[in-house]
Symmetry: C2
Subunit: 218 residues, 2 copies
Amino acid sequence: MTEKVTIEQKVLSENDRLAAELRQKFTRHRVLCLNLVSSPGSGKTSLLEKTLAALNHELKIALVAGDVQTENDARRLERAGGKIVRPIVTGGACHLDARMVAKALEAVPLEGLDILFIENVGNLVCPSSYDLGEDMKVVLISTTEGDDKPLKYPGMFRRSSVMVVNKVDLIGSSEFSLATVRENALTINGQLTVIELSCRSGDGLPAWYGWLRSQVRR
Amino acid sequence: MTEKVTIEQKVLSENDRLAAELRQKFTRHRVLCLNLVSSPGSGKTSLLEKTLAALNHELKIALVAGDVQTENDARRLERAGGKIVRPIVTGGACHLDARMVAKALEAVPLEGLDILFIENVGNLVCPSSYDLGEDMKVVLISTTEGDDKPLKYPGMFRRSSVMVVNKVDLIGSSEFSLATVRENALTINGQLTVIELSCRSGDGLPAWYGWLRSQVRR
C-alpha cells in the first residue's frame, strides 16, 4: 500500500504543478475561475443555464463541462446561449484533473474573459483532491439530498468557498432544514458563503448573480 | 501514467481476490449479500430503515454501513431496529473495498443470516470498480436527480442488477420522467430489474419487500 500512496502523491503533486500554471494564467488575464462541484443531479448544469440566460449580455463567460460519459451537459449549456463551451468526457474517471482542463482550454482565448466556469463530474468525494487552478470551489447541495451532507463529506465543504443550496422550492417535501444545513456546513468551514436558491422557481438567483458580479476582476 | 495504471490493476486484483473469498463465505452460509450504491442523498439509509421495520421480524438481517466520515448512517440503522450493524468510516476514501468489508464482518456471525446489506459510500462512480463479494449491486436513483443519470454514469448501471427509483412522490416537482429513466437504464443494461418506490409515502415498498423475499436463499 505504501507504493500506492507514493504513486498517488506523485500524481497529485504533478496535478498541483499544472494547476499552479493554470492559476497564473487566469490571474494574468483577470479571469475569475470557479470550479462547480456537487453530487450527481444537484443542479450544476441548471444553475449555469440560468446564469448564462441572466448574465451573458453583460459578462463574457466560458464554460468547461466535465462528464464521465456523454456530452449532454455541454450541449445543454450551448443551447442556453453559451458561446464558449468545451466538453470533457473523462471516460470513466471520477473527477477532472488539471491536465484535462489545460487541454480543454487550449482552444479557448482567455483575453477579455470575465468568468470561466468549470463544471466538475458529479461526485462529492474525489474532485475535492484535485486543484484545477480555480479561484474558488463552489459546492452545490440540493434540499432533497438531506441536511447532513456537509458532515458526511467534509473534505469538499472544507475546500469550498461558497455553498449554494439549490431546490429550496422543494423544502417541505422532505425533512430538510436550511438552518441545519447551514449550521453543519459552517461547523466544517466557518468561512463559507452560503447562497440559497431554486433554479426552478428563480428564488434566490439574484443573490447568486450579485455575488458573481462582486467577484469579477475587471 | 503506465506505472499508475499498473498499481491500480494490482490494487483491483488484490481486491478481487478478497471479494472472491467473501463471496465463497456468503454462498457457504446461504446469505444473500446486496451492495447498495447511489449518489449522496438518494435514500439508501431510508430504504434500509423501512426494510428493517418491515422485515426484521421474519428475516435475519445484518448491515454494514460505509461513510466517508461520521457513523450517522449506522446509528440511524440501529435506531430502526437493526440488531447487527457494523459501521465503516473510510476516512476520506470514496468507496468501500473488500478488505474493509472483510474486517467489518470479523465480528458478524453469518450462521442463520438471511440478508447482508452493504451500504456503500454515496458516489455513483468509484464504488462501481470494487467488488465486495456481493451477489448483486442495487443502484438507487432519486427522481430529483434527473432521468439522465444512467447515461451519464453508465458503469454503475451496467454493473448493477436492480435499479430502485426512489422519491416517486416528488415526481411533478421536477422534469423527471419514469419512462425516460427506465429507457435510459435499460439502454445501458437490458437485464436490470426496475423497482419504483417512495420511502416517504410508502408507495412501491411492497414490491421491494417482495423482491427481497424472492431472493433469500433459505
